[in-house]
Amino acid sequence: MTSPLLSVENITVSFDGFNALDGISLQLMPTSIRVLIGPNGAGKSTLLDAIIGHVRPSSGRVVFKGRDITHMEEYRIVRDGICRKFQAPGVLESLTVMDNLNLAARRRRECWRSFSRGVAGGTYEQAERVLKLIDLAGKRNLPAGQLSHGEKQWLEIGMVVASDAELLLLDEPAAGMSHGESEQTAALIRELSSQHSFLVIDHDMAFVDQLDAPVSVMHMGRMLKEGTLKEIRNDPQIAAIYLGRDKEASVA
């Protein structure tokens, strides 16, 4: 029995007295995928924020690789091996596509190691590999600001992948993608899950289905249920609050 890679323990986050997260717990094993679903405003993105240190929980703790990271600086958490893709694409607009990937792929992120001109061992290859993976090789020298919305989305997934972190947090990776593209994305995530763990938020049930992974349902800042997509679909309580209003999911 291995120990969990990530363990979120009883976390509460509040804004203006309103609990965005209300005693959430979650465990994630190495090289596994977990999908988070739930209506908008259920607190999924806030959970990712809390894991990566973007918001600080008022109680509870986050443990990563056996270490308490609840109050660690964001950039240290990332260096420790968690990388996140945000909902809105956050590419670095004045850098080229390749530089975006290079920055993400770099292992030597300390300031004092950033003056060497060459790219450190393996970084460049990693970035090249990801560039092909996300199919932007033709635009490698284009400033990222000139990409289309979808391409930015791809680039940002690419950046997260290039970071080679042990835990990748993906907030709606398939949003804005066509059917085929989201299938590709799912395949990519499955393939990479042999080395990385993923925590994925998405609304698209077809995409979730392709990920073929355990699903956690969030609602009003709480964890409602965990199980396979099938179990979730058959849960009457969840159907009432979530799937019930989303006919497409039950059809799919």
């Binding site: 260096r79 850098l95 300031c111």
Partner: protein
């Protein structure tokens, strides 16, 4: 081919500047020399502002620190043994303060002129950036710093020469300042230093450091979530700019022979930024050109029509910022765009959106 052409231009330009002592009048040579020294400071401003998005209205402080440290050394070298500088005498001091002795020999003075401003810049930057204070807030704090620095210099007359500052140097590193050959030597040293700093900046900006800095300007928070600590990068950039400023200040007084609080306060600090804005904040050759043009322009206009100088300067600020945000370096690009079919202009609403974002993140950044 293109590369070779560019290289030959580089060489021609450097040659033109290097040969300036042979065809420029002595007065213009001395102006060119001091403005080239200022251009070193401008490179630093370009580094933090053009690339890192950090606007400092207090560069005069670091420039002044460099200048004062070297000036202290020059003041000491001109003294007979056991003597103290004149202003100490008429301020009531009868012996040299211990910390002045630090700069008695040339090496500590030279190192200090670069290291002290760099260290002060790093300290301030770390205190402020680590608390994620940035943008306008940082600019205003540095402005207050410039004010406090000049006030402090004036009020500590016994140690700093007060309002008069430090002047009347006779020898530098054993050479007599009045010697015309010395003047040329200083000019060439300045030019060589500028060239080195230019290459150094280009190298740093082409290295990952420059990429991260640019990335921080684009989205500080995004960079943090790639595992970089923006505060550290910004602090280092600011310290580098501080070092360049100190070096620039030290070279400047070799040309001018005087440093005083009036040259380091709020107004000169802003003028330094404006020269960079005119040249184009993110273009290294641009900021050098901007510095030369603004300062030669100032010399020329203020001679021809003293009353108009402030008006001209004011209009220049407004025009550069509103019409030509990329400065002179933006002109070729703007010209090129004129001849290219272009998309419809953004309506005013679009920047509004950014503005709200700006308001919300002013003190504490957000995503």
């Amino acid at each position: 081919m293109k590369k070779r052409l560019e290289l030959s231009f580089d060489a021609a330009m450097l040659a033109a500047l290097a040969l300036a002592p042979f065809y420029l009048s002595s007065y213009h040579l001395s102006l060119l020399g001091r403005f080239l020294a200022l251009a070193i400071l401008s490179l630093g401003i370009s580094l933090i502002w053009g690339w890192g998005g950090i606007l400092s209205l207090g560069q005069g402080v670091f420039w002044g620190l460099g200048a004062y440290v070297l000036a202290m050394h020059l003041k000491l070298t001109g003294l007979a043994p056991g003597d103290i500088p004149d202003f100490m005498m008429w301020s009531g001091l009868d012996h040299l303060p211990g910390w002045w002795r630090l700069f008695q020999s040339p090496l500590p003075a030279l190192v200090g002129a670069i290291a002290i401003p760099a260290a002060v810049a790093a300290g301030l930057a770390w205190l402020v950036f680590d608390r994620r204070v940035r943008g306008v807030y940082f600019a205003l704090i540095t402005q207050a710093l410039a004010l406090a620095f000049s006030t402090l210099l004036i009020s500590e007359q016994a140690y700093t020469g007060g309002f008069n500052g430090l002047t009347d140097f006779t020898t530098i590193f054993g050479r007599v300042i009045i010697d015309p050959g010395f003047q040329r030597g200083i000019y060439w040293i300045t030019l060589a230093t500028l060239a080195l700093c230019f290459l150094g900046c280009r190298w740093i900006l082409n290295a990952s450091f420059g990429k991260v800095l640019l990335a921080i300007r684009d989205g500080e928070s995004r960079v943090r979530f790639l595992g970089y600590n923006p505060a550290a990068y910004k602090t280092v950039a600011f310290a580098l700019a501080g070092a360049l400023a100190g070096l620039s200040g030290a070279l400047y007084i070799l040309h001018v022979g005087v440093i005083s609080p009036a040259m380091v306060g709020v107004v000169p600090s802003i003028e330094m930024v404006i020269a960079v804005a005119v040249g184009g904040r993110a273009s290294l050759p641009g900021v050098i050109l901007g510095t030369l043009l603004v300062n030669f322009g100032k010399d020329w206009i203020s001679s021809a029509m003293p009353e108009v100088w402030q008006l001209a300067m004011g209009l220049l600020f407004i025009l550069v910022v509103t019409v030509l945000p990329q400065g002179l370096a933006g002109i070729p690009g703007a010209a090129a765009r004129l001849f290219r079919p272009r998309r419809k202009r953004q309506e005013p609403e679009a920047p509004r959106r950014e503005m709200r974002k700006g308001a919300a993140m002013a003190a504490q950044e957000k995503d």
